[in-house]
Subunit: 199 residues, 2 copies
C-alpha cells in the first residue's frame, strides 16, 4: 500500500522545492498533518497563492512589489541619484537590513555565467545603462558578489558605464573572496560598503 493520495500529493509538492528530497518531503508532509492546525495550513495555502498572484517586479528596479513601483523606488525620502546594482532581490534585502544605504537599487536578475549559459541578454544591464544615463545620477555602486560571475558582471557593467557622467564604484573586498553576499555577516557587508573604491 502507498500513502493515501492526499499525503502523496503534498509529498510531491514539497519535493519540488530545492534541497528537499524524498525523506524530508515525507517528514514535512507528516508534520503538516500532525502538528499544524487548520489556521496555520490555510495561511500557508493562501500565502503560496498570494506570492505568485500579488507580487511582481518593480518596473524601475526589478525589486519585488505589490504595486507598479516598489516602496523604495516610490519613496520620496530615498536618494534617487545613487543606484546600487545587485545580482538578485535577496541581496537587496541583505543591504536594506543594514539601514545604511538611502539610495535606490537595480536588480540585475543574476550574473554573467558562461558555464550556465547566462549572458548579458538574460540580465537587466541595458535597463541599468538607460537609468544611469540620466544626468542627475551621481553614483552607481556595483554590489555584485565577489565570485567569478559577480566580478565578470561588475567589469562588464563598468565598461558599459564608461560613457556616463556618473561615478562608478565597486563595494570593497571586505567580503571574503569567493563568498556570497547573502551568507556574509552584517559587519563584513558593512565594511565592504564603506570601503568601496573607484572602479
Amino acid at each position: 500500500m502507498e500513502y493515501p493520495k492526499a499525503i502523496v500529493d503534498l509529498i510531491d509538492s514539497f519535493k519540488k522545492l530545492p534541497s528537499i528530497g524524498a525523506k524530508s518531503a515525507e517528514r514535512l508532509a507528516m508534520y503538516v498533518y500532525s502538528n499544524l492546525d487548520m489556521t496555520d495550513i490555510e495561511e500557508f495555502s493562501t500565502a503560496l497563492i498570494n506570492v505568485k498572484k500579488n507580487l511582481h517586479k518593480c518596473k524601475v528596479c526589478g525589486n519585488l512589489c505589490e504595486d507598479e513601483e516598489c516602496e523604495i523606488c516610490s519613496s520620496k525620502k530615498r536618494d534617487h541619484n545613487t543606484i546600487m546594482v545587485v545580482e538578485n532581490i535577496k541581496d537587496l534585502y541583505v543591504i536594506e537590513k543594514l539601514n545604511v544605504f538611502n539610495g535606490v537599487y537595480h536588480v540585475l536578475d543574476g550574473a554573467i555565467n558562461f558555464q550556465k549559459g547566462i549572458g548579458v541578454e538574460d540580465l537587466t544591464i541595458n535597463e541599468l545603462i538607460v537609468r544611469a544615463k540620466n544626468p542627475n545620477v551621481k553614483e552607481v555602486i556595483i554590489a555584485t558578489n565577489a565570485t567569478l560571475e559577480g566580478e565578470t558582471t561588475a567589469r562588464y557593467v563598468k565598461t558599459l558605464l564608461e560613457g556616463c557622467d556618473c561615478k562608478v564604484t565597486r563595494i570593497a573586498h571586505g567580503l571574503p573572496v569567493g563568498g556570497d553576499i547573502n551568507y556574509a555577516d552584517e559587519v563584513t557587508v558593512l565594511k565592504a560598503l564603506e570601503g568601496r573604491r573607484d572602479y
Copy 2:
C-alpha cells in the same frame, strides 16, 4: 524596507516547519516566487488543505485514510489475524514498501517516554489489547524502534498481552541498536523482520 507582505507571509509559514530556519524559509519563499509556475503552486496550496481536510485516522489501526477504515484494514487480501505494532504511520509505510508483510497494523502513536511525559494513556495500547483478545488473532509482531523508548514500549505491550492466546513476537535486532526504523536501509529492516523471535 522589509520584503513585501506576500513574501513575508510565506516566509513565516515555511518557518513553522521543522528544521527550516529564517534563511532557509527566505530561500524557499523566493524559490516559490521565481521557479514554480501557477499550476505547481495551486497544487501545493490544495494539497496542504486536503491533507488536513481529507485525511483522518483509521478507526481500526490508526493508519491514515480518506475513508472510515484504511485500505489495509478494509482489504480482503490481507491476513487480519497477524497484527504488526508500529510506533507511527511513517514506520508502517517503511514496512509496506518492503512488500513482504501481508497482515494488518496497529499504530501506537508514539512510544513511552518518561522524559517527555509520554505515558501509556497517550498511546493506543488499550485499543491494541482489545484487538489482540479476538480469538482469531494468531500473532502480534512488535515492531517498535530499537531505542530505549521503543524497547520500553515493547516490554510493556508484551506484559499486557500475556493473557492472550496469540503468539507475541518482536522484530530482531537486525536494526542497529539505538537506530530508528525510518532511517534504516531496507535490507536491515527485512533481516529484522525475518529474525523475529518469541518475546
